[in-house]
């Protein structure tokens, strides 16, 4: 009995201590302050990255820390955003490690002049050779980073050669002119890694990822990764060796909070300063909270329902049009996502240069018209369709329920299949799905890149998961991607949109208005879809 009694007493003691100090600690208020200026910025995200390697950065989650940890050759510009914050300006490219650059007349050779004196925390110089190593590493590894750096030109690959004639000069030769290569280099995939660290930890293997880089940083960016518990938390500390302007926060603590209610509670009780990933209803309940601001940004991500055009019943254009018309997108935006979405219909979302106001308007819900179309299509009702959604995604679950009820009206029985992440990826990206909900946007926010992977006939069966192929659009897209003239480009995209919309190749539910929750103590915030935290501060 003795040891048990001691254990009991110990537990009772600890619990009692917990009870009586909880209030003093102020667990429900802004708590123990260790000096106002040194208090770290608390950031919470809903889902965690699977890798911290810039050469891998496939998903939005993977990008969360990269721009804070790694320097790139060039960067995107910033423009004023809502409520005194700033947001990314995809149309300007600004110097970062490169102080200037020149394109040859044929548009196939880019020469960068680099800043001097930048180095990694290990002491290795961050010079042209390091950049050459980093880019060649990403290309050799052939993960997502390589595909993005090649701007989706796979055959032949866009980047032909990278050279560092001296420490300050970097030359990149392309297989064809592509003005968008600068945007590709400004993407997280262009992160510059410390060659000495990479070589010491597994080196570079062709076609394979590097395990060490998944959970460590080899960067020389504004922050160093002080601690990292994969999937749980990370601590970023200002990097004293950073060559650029010091970051606005000395320390940023990031936690990944899988449960949406947890995230909401932490926002409500002030333990989180900046939160991303809350559900629509949670955000809605925060709108009246004076302690926080919910600020939403025009994002390039969209919620789509794919209708793989090579599969029954979607081979029939009338059935596709009926589905588009039967789904109450306006009601969904208002009541399911609580206004954090923007309606449109077309291949290019409103936030992206190239969007056509004239042809990209949302399609009005018209159930009677949809029924007529089904009757006209000649397909026998009821039509059975399986819709794949991602397990654990509350938003997709709610949307699928609404879609199911709406399509029942026009004689389409939707059975919803919840798939694990592995099974969903297999179904959607290996072309086995009959219909799926997909929240997706391009890594590079330009229409050329986006359409190349999502709509191009040549990508059917690889990236083009909707099996969308509007034949007349192929020459238009090729011309639009190669041109540097923006008005010509916009004209081409308008035509392309017009052709696309007539085919009703998929359901576009909404473009995301990405909401961030900022506590009232947050002084500075910059929005970019790759979460650059250098200017975040409270």
């Amino acid at each position: 009995m003795r040891p048990r009694a001691i254990a009991a007493a110990a537990l009772a003691g600890v619990l009692a201590l917990a009870g009586c100090t909880a209030d003093k600690l102020g667990v429900t208020g802004p708590a123990v302050s260790r000096g106002a200026d040194s208090a770290p910025l608390q950031v919470s995200f809903a889902s965690a990255p699977a890798s911290l390697d810039p050469a891998k950065s496939c998903t939005g989650e993977d990008r969360q820390l990269l721009n804070s940890l790694y320097v790139r050759l060039v960067d995107f510009g910033a423009e004023p955003g809502p409520e005194g914050t700033t947001q990314i300006d995809y149309s300007t490219i600004t110097p970062y490690l490169a102080r200037s650059w020149d394109a040859s007349d044929d548009g196939k050779t880019y020469t960068f002049k680099l800043k001097t004196g930048w180095k990694f925390p290990s002491g290795t110089p961050m010079d042209a050779r390091a950049v050459e190593f980093s880019l060649e590493r990403a290309l050799k590894m052939n993960q997502c980073g390589a595909v993005i750096l090649h701007d989706l030109y796979t055959d032949p690959p866009l980047i032909k050669e990278i050279e560092a004639p001296d420490a300050e000069t970097l030359v990149i030769r392309l297989s064809q002119p592509d003005p968008q290569v600068l945007a590709a280099l400004a993407d997280t995939s262009g992160g510059i890694v410390d060659p000495s660290l990479v070589k010491a930890n597994g080196g570079v293997v062709e076609n394979e990822g590097n395990a060490w880089m998944d959970s460590h940083s080899a960067g020389g960016g504004a922050f160093v990764l002080q601690s990292y518990a994969a999937g749980a938390s990370a601590v970023l500390k200002a990097n004293p060796d950073y060559g650029g302007l010091p970051p606005a926060s000395k320390e940023i603590r990031i936690t990944w909070v899988t449960s949406p209610s947890t995230q909401l509670l932490n926002v409500q009780n002030g333990t989180t300063d900046i939160a991303y990933g809350l559900s629509g209803s949670a955000l809605n309940s925060l709108k009246s909270d004076p302690k926080v601001r919910v600020v939403s940004y025009d994002d390039t991500q969209s919620m789509l329902m794919t209708l793989p055009n090579n599969q029954e019943p979607w081979t029939n254009r009338d059935v596709r049009e009926a589905v588009v018309k039967a789904i109450p997108t306006e009601d969904i935006i208002k009541n399911v996502v609580y206004g954090f979405g923007k309606a449109y219909y077309g291949p290019i979302p409103p936030s992206m240069p190239g969007y056509s106001e004239e042809h990209g308007r949302p399609v009005a819900t018209d159930v009677a018209g949809a029924k007529a179309l089904i009757a006209k299509s000649g397909v026998r009702t009821p039509i059975d369709v399986t819709l794949d959604i991602l397990a654990g995604d509350q938003n997709q679950k709610a949307l699928s329920t609404v879609i199911q009820s709406a399509l029942k009206e026009i004689g389409i029985n939707v059975s919803v299949r919840t798939l694990t992440s592995s099974a969903w990826n297999d179904a959607v990206y290996n072309g086995k799905s009959q219909a799926s909900l997909r929240f997706d946007g391009p890594a590079l926010a330009n229409a050329g890149y986006y359409l190349q992977y999502d709509e191009a006939c040549s990508s059917v069966g690889s990236f083009n998961t909707g099996y969308i192929c509007v034949k007349a659009n192929t020459p238009l897209l090729d011309r639009a991607r190669g041109t540097a003239d923006t008005s010509e480009r916009d004209e081409l995209y308008a035509q392309l949109t017009e052709n696309w919309v007539k085919e009703y190749p998929r359901v576009t539910l909404y473009q995301s208005l990405t909401p961030f929750v900022l506590s009232s103590s947050v002084r500075a915030f910059h929005f970019s879809s790759s979460y650059d935290m250098r200017t975040w501060a409270k």
Binding site: L11, N207, T258
Partner: protein, 339 residues
Amino acid sequence: MFRDIRQRLLASAVTIVLASFVSFVVLRALPGDPARLIAGPLAGPETLAATRSSLGLDRPFFAQYGQFLWNFVRGDWGYSFSVGDEVREALTSRLTATLELALYAFVLAVVGALVCASVASFRPGFRRGLVRLFALVGLGSPPFWVGLVLIVVFSSYLGWWPGPSGRLSPQLYPPEPVTGFYTVDFALHGDLIGVSDSAAHLVLPVVSLALLPWAFLTRLLTANMADTAGQPYILVVRSKGVPAWRTHVRHVLANSLLPTVSSCGLILATLITGSVLVETVFNWPGVGAMLTEGISAQDFALVQSFILLSAILYVVGNLVGDAVNRMIDARLRTPGAAR
């Protein structure tokens, strides 16, 4: 006796190997393509093939299984792509969080059951009814739902204890790891604020996790104590003039402990299972959430190693429970008593 022990050890080894084999088969039967998930939607066929071969998926099934067992024994548990870290690293850093939760819940359940069962079986009446009611409620409560209700009431509404914010308030730094238990490590470093903060974060998840095993043990123990209390030797003890409460604790309780002790292995298993659900609700950085994610992502290395580990734990727990039983109860020591 030695033959008996040898047989038991052999049976345990068979159990462990079979369990690992079942997990190996089931995981591979899951739908999906882990290589596609790892390499991402943009990956081309060469990258997919290279990813498959680096996972060992292109090798024959039994070669994969043999390799896995051999590597596990050597201490190389492989690489978890869904976490992005070595499996050993991922499991050990997270397992301590789960264990801290599970052990406190275990202590709470056992101590609570001893006290409540002693009170309830002492004599019939209001207290017995109350304990019985609570035990019934406890037995009927899904842990994830209890967690939710506790959060709403004690964290959101009353604000007594922190809600689902993990192991520590975000403004505190985790202690230098010694045992991996925050409460203990803080105490070792003499950081009282840390001790009370980490203890405060333990309260609600521990209670939600302990409720089910507490109810189970309370009912078991009360039934056994009621049985024992009716035995003639208890009457003898009482007739010798030993006070009622003293008899109850020293003789009735002591003589009813056997089934409770032997069910402790089972309780530990319940706690591990329960932690999967409770950890998600409280955002506890333990193995639970990591495993559900791992199953979903078909992260073979991670899930296999954990299941093998927990099978070992279960088997060892059972062996220890048996050994303790034998030490307490002389009757079980006769050879051939157990088939």
